[in-house]
């Protein structure tokens, strides 16, 4: 694996048991992603985008093949080792935000720092900074129920990047948002990608997102059908 590679996947196969048989979600997937990439996994529903994202994030295990993320092989990694990798070096953004409903914006954003045992003084500073990045300083004490969909997703982004991870995995981050909010969210993530050199991987079939991506990996029926690199994204700010 080269020094700058973030994700390296070789001959990945992922089967799910269905009844007495297996459903193949991913097959013959080979992929290398390097530091600072802004990549999308694109394809129709059921093409295997989320499954691939989950395997990269260590939330799911490959049936066959090798998966290496941030220099660590996930094939033989224990649950604890994967959890530690996610905790220290990854951020997650979900389609339905997955904010903890009983926490305020700042408490949701603070959670990864607590899990990383960052001291309280540093935590406060970094939470405030992350919330400022996503433009939610006026909502710091609001709970998710009091926020719009766009604000919830901005909170989720702040939570994903507050501990400055090397890799952010976003599963359909704009699926529940209108066009204006989708563009706003993507601009924020693009800015973070440029300022922090954080690698982003999106699973999406949203056309609006694709205009921001610098690399698009097309998936269909569990296989990579096209790996498209875009030198000059049209909608880049």
């Amino acid at each position: 694996m080269s020094k700058s590679s973030v994700v390296q996947i070789e001959n990945l196969l992922k089967n799910f048991p269905v009844g007495g048989d297996f459903f193949t979600a991913l097959k013959d997937v080979n992929l290398t992603l390097t530091t600072g990439e802004f990549t999308g996994l694109v394809g129709p529903s059921g093409s295997g985008k989320t499954t691939l994202l989950n395997i990269i994030g260590g939330l799911d295990s490959p049936s066959e093949g090798h998966v290496n993320v941030l220099g660590q092989s996930l094939n033989n990694a224990s649950h604890g080792e994967r959890a530690r990798l996610r905790c220290e070096h990854m951020g997650f953004i979900f389609q339905s935000y997955n904010l903890l409903p009983v926490y305020t914006v700042s408490e949701n954003v603070e959670l990864p720092l607590i899990l990383n045992k960052v001291d309280s003084k540093d935590r406060r500073k970094r939470v405030a900074q992350a919330i400022e990045w996503v433009g939610l300083s006026d909502k710091i004490n609001s709970r998710p129920a009091m926020l719009s969909g766009g604000e919830c997703q901005r909170t989720a982004i702040a939570r994903a990047i507050v501990h400055q991870p090397a890799l952010v995995l976003a599963d359909e981050p704009t699926a529940n948002l209108d066009a204006e909010n989708s563009h706003h969210i993507m601009k924020i993530m693009l800015q973070l990608n440029q300022e922090l050199s954080t690698s982003f991987i999106f699973a999406t079939h949203d056309e609006k997102i694709m205009t921001y991506l610098r690399r698009i990996i097309h998936l269909d029926d569990g296989q990579i059908t096209e790996d498209e690199k875009i030198d000059n994204p049209k909608a880049r700010t």
């Binding site: 989950n54 994030g57 939330l59 799911d60 649950h79 604890g80 959890a83 530690r84 990798l85 996610r86 905790c87 220290e88 990854m90 997650f92 979900f94 997955n98 903890l100 409903p101 009983v102 926490y103 408490e107 959670l111 990864p112 607590i114 899990l115 990383n116 045992k117 939570r159």
Partner: protein
């Protein structure tokens, strides 16, 4: 770290937290109250017996066996000098026991007739109601249940037939002068109480008695002849045995209450935890290990139990105290002895340290277990399933 998150979760969940805490506190309250009532019932039975019957103890005629009425014929004698002195000092009172038969309204009823000193104030019995009835042949004091069974009221007369010391049957007319309400059915069922002097005359046993009950705090007299001293411990031994025999019932009741409480707590906790499947998935995605997830929910359960303990003291404590002082009206009269043990009309719970400590430990343990088990099950799920909220009980 986990403690901090657990505190945040509990404070943040507001209504859900308070619902869980309330259910647990209610369990604490119910178990403590009902077990204390049960203990109180047994303790009360003992206290009533001492208060109304035993006092400090008794000297028995050597022939006297209260469980064998045949012995009554021989169990009478004049009092030993030291015992008589106690009686003269008002520190003891004699009772003369014999078998008799009454004929209320033409029916025949075998009874135990006891002659008692009307002016005694050592046991809590309205014996003074027997005094000052010179116009009545035999003034009779009976209990409420006896009156109900014999269909007698104050002023009613009936024939009493007895066997005197000369082995001669005699009979005369008794008149009910008072019907006593007593919680001690042993003074009531099958008993008629008459003035001691009248009994001694009727039975031709002048100056004689069957046993002498003495006041609390007195030591046993040396100069008591062949009369047998019976202390409180001896006189309540049957009741102690009954209570001891009842221990398994008490334990069963405690376990049943505990099961009800556990079901309530389990429902509230499991519902709460399984509703949080997606949250658990999110925590795992953010990097929380399975053991930490389980630890988090177990700590939350522990804090839940702690808050429930505090809530019990603050909200239910005054109620427990009030009931402990004033008792609970049972609404049913058990003075007919149908329960086989003295049951008061107002049940006063007895809160023992053992009961409170045991209940606190057991309920807290249940809360921890019902927090630990479901969270362990969820934590074993694939994070991807938990994230999708695919959680099943």
């Amino acid at each position: 770290m986990l403690f901090k998150i657990a505190i945040k979760n509990l404070l943040g969940a507001r209504l859900r937290t308070w619902l869980n805490v309330f259910v647990t506190a209610l369990s604490f309250f119910m178990i403590i109250l009902f077990s204390a009532m049960y203990d109180g019932m047994r303790e009360h039975a003992k206290q009533v017996t001492i208060d109304t019957e035993i006092a400090g103890g008794a000297y028995w005629h050597p022939q006297y066996d209260p469980l064998d009425p045949i012995t009554f014929e021989e169990a009478h004698a004049t009092l030993p000098s030291a015992v008589k002195t106690l009686v003269n000092q008002g520190k003891a009172f004699p009772v003369l026991v014999s078998q008799a038969t009454i004929y209320p309204d033409g029916r025949i009823m075998p009874v135990i007739m006891k002659g008692i000193l009307p002016e005694q104030n050592i046991v809590n019995m309205p014996t003074q109601m027997l005094a000052n009835h010179q116009e009545i042949t035999i003034p009779v004091l009976i209990g409420r249940s006896m009156a109900n069974n014999a269909k007698l009221e104050v002023g009613d007369t009936f024939t009493i037939r007895w066997l005197d010391a000369n082995q001669t049957y005699d009979a005369d007319e008794g008149t009910v002068v008072h019907i006593m309400d007593t919680e001690n059915f042993k003074l009531d069922i099958g008993h008629v109480w008459i003035p001691l002097e009248k009994a001694q005359t009727m039975l031709a046993m002048e100056e004689e008695a069957t046993y002498v009950t003495y006041a609390k705090g007195l030591s046993i007299e040396e100069n008591r002849g062949d009369w047998i001293p019976r202390d409180v411990k001896f006189l309540i031994r049957d009741m102690e045995a009954l209570i001891e025999a009842d221990e398994p019932n008490a334990a069963i009741m405690y376990i049943i209450l505990l099961c009800f409480a556990a079901m309530g707590i389990f429902n509230a906790q499991v519902l709460s935890i399984f509703r949080r499947g997606k949250e658990i998935g999110t925590l795992m995605a953010l990097g929380m290990t399975r053991s930490r997830v389980v630890g988090l929910f177990t700590i939350e359960g522990g804090l839940n139990a702690l808050l429930a303990g505090i809530m019990t003291v603050i909200f239910f404590g005054p109620l427990l105290w009030y009931v402990g002082v004033n008792g609970i009206w049972l609404g049913v009269d058990y003075s007919d002895g149908a329960m086989g043990i003295i049951v008061e009309k107002y049940l006063i719970p007895v809160y023992s340290v053992k009961l409170v400590v045991t209940t606190t430990i057991v309920v807290s343990f249940i809360v921890l277990i019902v927090s630990y088990l479901p969270s362990r099950r969820i934590a074993k799920m694939k994070p991807t399933d938990a994230l999708r909220g695919k959680v099943s009980v």
